[in-house]
């Protein structure tokens, strides 16, 4: 298909892989761009809902990014936000139905936060900033990258909150009973939203400590 003089870029070229890996570290949606904080505070009390929401967001961003990219030449610029919203809303409703069908209890726990993926700034941001101007494959990689970057932070925060707040992970008892007999107690503050903010803060701190480039100059 490619004409002479215009070599085709391989599917997993270094540039494409950057799209996938950058959002995990240097352009992380939560720790660097500080987007999607509300859901990071709300659903990270336990690992299981956090994981489920992370997967849902990855699926929504990736597919929505691809769809937007496919439609990008047909969308009139004036109504692009509406079109993007329709795409996201359609996907979120599908995700919601799937969750209700297969993991009903988790879907109950997540309650409104599945629906709120629609308003998650990361999704809209990626469609607007990337999907509207790039071919489908790149958009797909970018969507996966950003979704996973978001999900990783969500799961890390949930890991610490569940471990110290309830002594469990994925619902299984991790901290042995003997430690409790010794006088240890679960930390009630970990269950409250402020602690999620502090854990996210610590992650940001650690990340910027390791990579000094990220420190804001003021």
């Amino acid at each position: 298909m490619s004409k002479a003089g215009k070599t085709r870029e391989p599917l997993f070229s270094a540039k494409n892989m950057k799209l996938l890996s950058n959002p995990l570290s240097k352009e992380n949606p939560i720790t660097i761009q500080v987007l999607g904080i509300c859901s990071a505070l709300a659903v990270t009390v336990q690992v299981k809902p956090a994981l489920v929401l992370a997967i849902a967001v990855v699926a929504v961003i990736a597919i929505a990014n691809v769809l937007t990219s496919l439609l990008r030449k047909m969308i009139a610029p004036r109504i692009r936000i509406i079109v993007q919203l329709v795409i996201i809303a359609m996907l979120v409703i599908m995700v919601d139905q799937i969750l209700k069908a297969f993991v009903y209890d988790v879907s109950k726990q997540l309650s409104v936060f599945v629906g709120l993926i629609i308003t998650n700034c990361i999704v809209m941001g990626r469609l607007e900033a990337f999907g509207m101007g790039n071919p489908p494959w790149k958009s797909f990689l970018d969507g996966i990258g950003n979704g996973v970057g978001y999900g990783v932070i969500l799961v890390i925060v949930a890991f610490f909150r569940e471990l110290f707040g309830s002594g469990t992970l994925m619902g299984y008892q991790i901290i042995p009973e003997s430690v409790y007999d010794f006088g240890y107690e679960n930390n009630g503050l970990m269950i409250l939203p402020p602690m999620a903010l502090i854990v996210v803060g610590v992650i940001i701190w650690v990340q910027r400590h390791r990579d000094k480039e990220l420190i804001d100059k003021s």
Binding site: G183, Y184, E185, N187, G188, L189, M190, L192, I198, G201, W205
Partner: protein
């Protein structure tokens, strides 16, 4: 003394710049300045020559809480023995000769000393590590926080919780903002808030306040807790509550000694009289309003009770006056103080989930203090500009 100086000088070289142990410089510096007056002199900028430096300020506060601490330890002992079945029916007046003064005090010391040691070791440990890593001096600020923390928590709090809360307060209350003098909230109160939300069973309700003896847990509610539940039968007499013979945290029971400590702070110019007075005024005024309303037993409680039960007096004198986190402008201090008093009584009476409103009221106003200052300053500027304008128009 000379021998000590010689010893310090002898071990100094490796810690100097270029020396082998330079990475431990700030630790060494902390101990040297702890032992001797540092010989560095401020060279730049405007400065005032005064005997008061930060260390002196901190020591003054520690001196002010000393009588309180001693009495508090004694009180722990008294409350403990009063609850023992073999001494039932006694009051504090009769139990002192029966058990013996020293035995009572010794019991309190044994309960309280570990808390102080725990808080100092954990907090100073965190401070030293931060100073090393960041390469700045170890600050004195923790001297005060370290003694205030054990004073405002129940004597039965497990040691590891104290240590954890202290480390949390030092790191997230102070160091992340840049160390002593940069904190937006009072670190000692932050430690208490951490415990309050993380381990509520140990911090409020009936159980924790009285140090229980052996295996059988004996507990008695504080006046604050019984007031919150609307029962006033077992209330101590006003005089007992004023002197401090009632269950409660070590530092908070004796309103009398708190007032003496406050007087000492005001006389030495360290604590702000405006803040203390306006906190009391705000709390008293709010309690009077509730008296007028009088919808339940708690609201009908005499207004001055609020000032002597729970941590109100201690918070007003030692916590709200923290020079770093309080408002700075004179008018701002009054607004800040009055609102602390109002909010704490409001929380106590209207919110059954938080029987002690003082802590949350002070923390909240700590956060608001910069805003109060901003508007006081803006108002002042506006007023003076107006005056300037009228003078100008008069001249023309």
């Amino acid at each position: 003394m000379k021998g000590l100086r010689r010893f310090v000088d002898k071990i100094k070289p490796p810690f100097e710049k270029g020396g082998k142990l330079h990475f431990l410089h700030s630790t060494f510096d902390a101990f040297e300045t702890f032992l001797f007056v540092p010989n560095t002199v401020t060279k730049k900028g405007a400065h005032i020559r005064d005997v008061i430096d930060m260390k002196r300020t901190m020591i003054m506060v520690v001196i002010a809480v000393m009588p309180l601490m001693l009495f508090g330890m004694f009180n722990i002992g008294i409350q403990h023995y009063l609850l023992q079945p073999e001494f039932s029916g006694n009051t504090w007046q009769t139990i002192i000769p029966e058990v013996g003064f020293w035995k009572i005090l010794w019991y309190g010391v044994l309960k309280f000393l570990p808390l102080i040691v725990g808080s100092y070791v954990a907090g100073l440990g965190a401070e030293f590590i931060f100073a090393q890593v960041r390469g700045h001096e170890v600050n004195e600020g923790f001297l005060v926080s370290g003694i205030l923390i054990p004073l405002i928590i129940p004597p039965t709090t497990p040691l590891w919780m104290v240590a954890l809360a202290t480390i949390f307060a030092v790191i997230f209350g102070k160091e992340v903002f840049g160390g002593t003098g940069m904190n937006i909230v009072n670190p000692a109160l932050l430690a208490r808030a951490f415990l309050f939300f993380a381990y509520p069973a140990h911090m409020s309700g009936d159980a924790p306040w009285v140090a229980s003896g052996s295996a059988d847990i004996i507990s008695g509610p504080t006046p604050l807790a019984s007031a919150a539940s609307g029962t006033f039968e077992n209330f101590p007499s006003v005089m007992d509550m004023f002197i401090g013979f009632m269950p409660g945290s070590v530092g908070e029971t004796s309103a009398l000694l708190i007032l003496l400590g406050g007087l000492f702070l005001v006389m030495t110019g360290i604590g702000s009289f405006r803040i203390m007075a306006s906190v009391f005024a705000g709390g008293f005024g709010m309690a009077l309003l509730f008296n007028l309303w009088g919808a339940n037993a708690y609201m009908d409680m005499p207004a001055f009770y609020h000032l002597i039960i729970g941590g109100f007096a201690f918070g007003a004198v030692f916590m709200a006056t923290d020079p770093v986190s309080a408002a700075q402008t004179p008018r701002g201090k009054i607004i800040y103080g009055v609102l602390i008093g109002v909010f704490s009584v409001l929380l106590r009476v209207l919110n059954p989930a938080y029987p002690e409103g003082m802590m949350l009221a002070i923390l909240f106003m700590n956060v608001m203090a910069p805003m109060i200052d901003h508007y006081v300053l803006a108002g002042n500027i506006k007023r003076r500009q107006k005056r300037l304008k009228t003078i100008k128009t008069e001249e023309v």
